[in-house]
Amino acid sequence: MKHVYGWLLLTPAAILLIGFTHYPTLRTIGESFFSRGSSLRPSRFIGLDNYRAMFDDPIFWKVLTNNLWFALGTIPTSIILALTMALLVNRALPGRALVRMAFFTPTILPMIAVANIWLFFYTPDIGLIDQILSLVGISGHNWLGDPATVLGAIIVMTIWKEAGFFMIFYLAALQHLPPELREASRLEGAGRWHHFRRVTFPLLMPTTLFVLINAVINSFKLVDHLFILTKGGPNNASNLLLYYIFETAFSYFDTNFAATLTVALLFLLALMALAQFYLLDKRVHYR
């Protein structure tokens, strides 16, 4: 009986999950073996040609490396910042509610809207950053127009966006910790840093794992700001894999090559999932 009930209860969700996750995944793989189709030139089976084209495509390698730098740039910093913020507002602090709210606001502001505001910050000469720099006598920099700084500029904005969201999870976890632990450490004469390193941080490990998974996924799916800030430029210096997939599918109408790129993205995500599973799962008590 429980088998029947179990499956019956699961069915509605399962249909949608299969329909929009598993089935399209298989379809993506299938489509990647066909050529770009248009009304006058129908799509045909071309085996691995799309994959060959992808490996020969300098833009693919560029967006892939960008994405890895983007992940490396955003994930550790936003997690450390989130934890710092949570620790800062988890104690007595004048204006704590305000500070907490300030940290959290980026979470409720749509990326697409704040991108325009950040565009103002980064705009050369008349932008906020350059205005502030000019006060101390540093002349303007073309933040988004220089391939050396554009990815960094995007990373900073993303950290700003994510840290506050992750902070909430840390804050919730911190308030869940029994206060006796701190008392015990104090009695043993342990300093705050020692207490944090030996007691708090290990206890926060499940939160860190949860936040880490979120951060990893976000580093591959967060591309909204590119639509406003750079469109991936200059010369693909800030282009990311998902944005390239979007462009390929919806600007070049090459859904098949886009499917091939998606397979690469899926492969990367699978690798990340496996890495997290094997490397981190052992160190975390997780149900």
């Binding site: 009930y5 179990g6 209860l9 699961l10 509605p12 399962a14 249909i15 949608l16 999950l17 329909g19 996750t21 598993h22 399209p24 995944t25 993506t28 710092t84 913020m85 800062l88 507002v89 602090l93 204006g95 500070v99 907490r100 709210m101 300030a102 940290f103 606001t105 980026p106 979470t107 409720i108 502001l109 749509p110 990326m111 697409i112 809207a113 704040v114 325009n116 505001i117 565009l119 103002f120 910050f121 700003w160 909430i168 919730a172 869940h176 949860f210 799916k221 591309v223 909204d224 639509f227 406003i228 998902l242 997939i245 599918a249 859904t255 499917a259 998606t262 993205l265 899926l266 995500l269």
Partner: protein
């Protein structure tokens, strides 16, 4: 307790750091407020005595149907959340209390969606939606997100921590399978529902890429896509009006957050999301 100077200094430093970070973090919102309430020529110039104006809001409302966009967003997040709650509750209940054949494999397959979110598969999901004739519908924006692996996962945890005895008591009183769910499990998981609901609302209120692809017209476009279309730099950036539009579109969420900040954090705590 006597305070020694070193810990006092440390405290002051931490307070300073917290405030500094807070100022940096809220700067974009402060700028949006500045630009939105001052005339266009002050958008890039800061002058304490700049005159205040509401004109930017009038312009924004005149140039794009933001009330309609807000309505679309509202319909989207509420209907999506209702669907999510129903679907995820049923599935989570199945995983938490029915050790049915294949349940662990099925649970693994559900968790796949944590990694492969619908926007990753944007190309094929769009094709599927087109096959279903749901392009340019609000239902189409929501459909791929309705069975949420995150929701199933959270609720399963909440249901699992519910004591079995309560279920047995309810059974003795004659509750069926769904009755137990409704009488016992759902009420006890309220904090989880609240936390999940808030995450879901803020996520879908702000979601952009997928709605951008799916919607074509004013009748379905949510606020984010409306803002993206409105603020596209192609038309020459006018920060004052864009800021006004931004404030208009985040106001409901921002106000709700300010009002419910405490409950928000507490529901996270009680839900044991960690």
């Amino acid at each position: 307790m006597k305070r020694d100077p070193i810990s006092w200094l440390g405290n002051a430093l931490e307070t300073g750091a917290a405030w500094l970070l807070a100022i940096v973090w809220i700067a974009p919102l402060l700028y949006a407020l500045w630009a939105a309430f001052h005339p266009g020529e002050y958008a890039v110039r800061f002058d304490l005595f700049a005159p205040l104006t509401l004109e930017n809001f009038a312009h924004a409302l005149e140039r794009a149907p933001f009330p309609r966009y807000a309505f679309n967003t509202f319909i989207l997040v509420t209907s999506l959340l209702s669907a999510q709650l129903v679907l995820c509750t049923l599935a989570a209940y199945a995983f938490a209390r029915f050790e049915f054949k294949g349940s662990s494999i099925a649970f693994g397959l559900v968790l796949v969606q944590l990694m492969i979110t619908p926007e990753i598969l944007i190309v094929e999901n769009y094709a599927i939606l087109a096959d279903l004739g749901l392009v340019d519908t609000i239902a189409g924006i929501g459909l791929p997100y309705m069975a949420s692996a995150f929701g199933i996962f959270l609720l399963r945890q909440a249901f699992k921590s519910t004591p079995r005895e309560l279920e047995e008591a309810a059974r003795l009183e004659g509750c069926g399978v769904l009755g137990v769910l409704w009488r016992v499990y759902v009420p006890l998981a309220r904090p989880t529902y609240l936390a999940y609901g808030l995450v879901s609302i803020s996520h879908h209120w702000n979601n952009f890429l997928w709605p951008l692809v799916v919607t074509n017209s004013v009748a379905t476009r949510p606020l984010t896509v409306g803002l993206g279309v409105f603020g596209a730099p192609e038309s020459g950036v006018n920060w004052s009006v864009i800021s006004a539009a931004t404030l208009l579109s985040v106001a409901p969420l921002l106000i709700a957050f300010l009002l419910f900040q405490r409950q928000f954090v507490q529901s996270f705590m009680r839900a044991g999301i960690k």
